[in-house]
Amino acid sequence: MSITVLRLATALYAAGAAAYVVFFARPRHRRAATTGYALVALAFVVHAISIGLACSEFGGNEFFNLRGGFGLLGWLAAGAFLLLLRFWPIPSVGAFVTPLVLMSVLPGIFGLGPNAHGAVPAVVRLPSLKLHVATAIGGVALFAIAFGVALMYLLQEREVKGKRFGALFSRLPSLDALDRLNQRLVRSGFAIYSVALVTGAVVAKNAWGSFWTWDPQQVASLVVWLLYGAMVQLRHVGIHGRRYALLTLAGFVLVLTSMIAMGAVPNVTRHGGSFQ
């Protein structure tokens, strides 16, 4: 049941992304952007329902492996995107962010069911676990949107600086707007990710007996946290624009590789799935 609902959500995400791409190609059709927003919002709700159904159907353990994690990432990124556009109406961002959302949801609809059945083990069933999962994936979701925005910045910078005043030039927002948006996303993502680190340590104390055990996942998270922390600090010494955008790209690539490495290589970490 949950998988059918998830497929519906994915179809809605795909339609929303398509609408945003159409808007980017033909900025005169403002309705494409509003349609895209409505579709993504609907997809977000349907996705939430599918997550709820999956938890009651399969016990919720599936969200602790790579596939489920990416699904949650797409869901929170969509939510963050919807919220972002409320306060910062730059609809052209949609053409860059919604395809990312779609891609992170896609793995979940292949295969017939979850690849990790069962309930979440009792040792980690703590209030701080919920907060840990939400903030870890929420922080990464913001980093993902920052990645899309940084990409837009680099494209626009190439146009502006290279004196190519073509279609991209007129469709992309100003460099200043993209730079500031990127900075805000990195800053808030970092703050949320910090909470994930602390709550993660609390859960680790319960499950593994110690706050810090140099588990590869812990080390990777620390590196990511330090990198984004450095970016927040570097802003004050004048790193911005192109170099900041490049750092944002690098940061997210690191997040992505560590996520995939921890999830795909067996027994490299005790984090997630097994908890032992």
Binding site: K161, K163, F165, S174, D176, G238, G241
Partner: protein, 440 residues
């Protein structure tokens, strides 16, 4: 029959020396229009007066009064004037309003100027129903052209390009400063245009202190010393350079040092001088956006090419609107005859119905009486349906013989037709077919 005539001259046909002789403004123009209206045969008059054109539109029997309007003011205008008549005059006005006849294709001001011209003629009470309809159609045409084609897109002047570029780098200029270095004319123009992005302040630096002060007054800025240039480069975010210096005023070395002092905040250098004043190597430096006159001109040129393509689509819209306007005007010409014909027929029908009711009315109830009236009206409708549609058809094809023949055949006088609009009291407001009662 009177027609719309246009007599005028524009940047296409006349040099500025002639244009300025016939250019009239406001009250003088109003008086001129009233004077023109006094001339025999002239029913309506309107004039478009901009720095690039002076055109007089009249509803009259001939173009001669409008011609005289020009020649009385400047005999030199002879030979520069163009004349259009009927649908050609209509097309010309539509093209002007849609900015297809402008010096800068697709520029936005002309529509406002045409609206002003119409407003002026209305105020002078020289614009009647024909010119009003003509102008409203022209405005609608211009709006269609603007929304359905890309003729207004892009930047058509160097200073506009500069504004667009700066907007793509900084968004707006709130809290930022513009530095105007040098006293070139293009520089001052661009600085003014950039101020529209909301810049906090304009700093003006020039080798001659007096020129700096004068330029600062002109652009609403603050004069600064030329020697301060390195510090000014740190303070400002957008720098417009247009000095007469034969060498680089801002070289790569200075820019490097500036960027360090700015903590790498983005800097936009716009070099409007020829020979160039900004080292082209500056654009290699991170977070520096440097453009020279060539870069800006290229954008202007690209805009021109794109607009010329869009103009073809715009012409098609204009053509369709001209046809629609002409058809509407001719259909309107047949309306008085139609209205009179219909009124006459209705009067006869209702009078006959009344006579019948006077004889047999007491035998009928309210419903029955109404159905007798309805029947009379239905007969009128059915009888006139064919002639009505054929008259309208003939009129929109430009055939004026059929309405005339109809008037003669049914014995309708022209004078009577003109009063047709206000209906006779007591007659029903419309002549829709009424539904007959179920019982037959």
């Amino acid at each position: 029959m009177s027609e719309v005539f246009l007599v005028g001259l524009s940047h296409h046909s006349a040099p500025i020396a002639v244009r300025e002789q016939v250019a009239l403004k406001d009250e003088v123009l109003k008086a001129g229009l009233r004077g023109l209206r006094e001339v025999g045969g002239v029913q309506e008059a309107m004039a478009i007066s901009t720095c690039n054109r002076m055109e007089v539109y009249v509803l009259a029997d001939s173009a001669e009064p409008a011609r005289r309007f020009f020649l009385d003011r400047a005999s030199t205008a002879d030979g520069h004037l163009y004349e259009r008549q009927g649908s050609h005059a209509v097309r010309h006005l539509f093209r002007v309003a849609a900015s297809l006849d402008s010096m800068v294709l697709g520029e936005q001001q002309i529509l406002g100027q045409v609206k002003e011209a119409y407003g002026l003629a209305s105020a002078a009470q020289t614009a009647g129903s024909v010119l009003s309809r003509l102008c409203n159609r022209a405005f609608a045409t211009a709006k269609r052209v603007r929304t359905e084609t890309d003729i207004g897109r892009g930047s058509s002047s160097v200073s506009q390009v500069a504004v667009e570029l700066v907007a793509k780098i900084f968004g707006d200029l709130k809290g930022r400063a513009i530095l105007l270095a040098g006293a070139g004319k293009m520089g001052a123009l661009s600085a003014k245009a950039l101020a529209s992005l909301g810049a906090d302040r304009v700093l003006v630096a020039n080798r001659s202190r007096e020129r700096a002060v004068a330029l600062a007054e002109q652009t609403g800025g603050h004069p600064r010393d030329w020697d301060e240039l390195p510090e000014l480069l740190v303070e400002a975010d957008v720098v417009i350079v247009s000095t007469g210096a034969p060498t680089y005023v801002i070289d790569a070395e200075l820019t490097q040092a500036t960027m360090k002092a700015r903590r790498h905040r983005s800097l936009c250098l716009i070099d409007l001088a020829v020979p160039r004043n900004v080292d082209p190597g500056c654009s290699q430096i991170a977070d520096v956006f440097a453009y020279d006159m060539d870069d800006l001109q290229k954008v202007v040129q690209a805009t021109k090419t794109a607009r010329a393509e869009e103009a073809l689509r715009a012409e098609a819209i204009v053509e369709a609107e001209v046809m629609a306007f002409s058809a509407e005007r001719e259909a309107r010409a047949a309306l008085p005859v139609l209205a009179a014909l219909r009124r006459q027929a209705e009067e006869i029908a209702l009078a006959e119905a009344e006579r019948t009711l006077a004889q047999v009315g007491q035998k009928l109830d309210e419903k029955g009486r109404r159905s007798v009236e309805a029947m009379a009206r239905a007969i009128v409708n059915k009888l006139l349906h064919g002639p009505t549609s054929r008259l309208k058809q003939a009129a929109s094809n430009g055939d004026s013989t059929l309405p005339g023949a109809a008037a003669e055949l049914f014995g309708i006088e022209e004078g009577l037709a003109d009063e047709a609009a206000p209906r006779a009291e007591g007659s029903p407001p419309s002549v829709h077919m009424m539904a007959l009662p179920e019982k037959r």
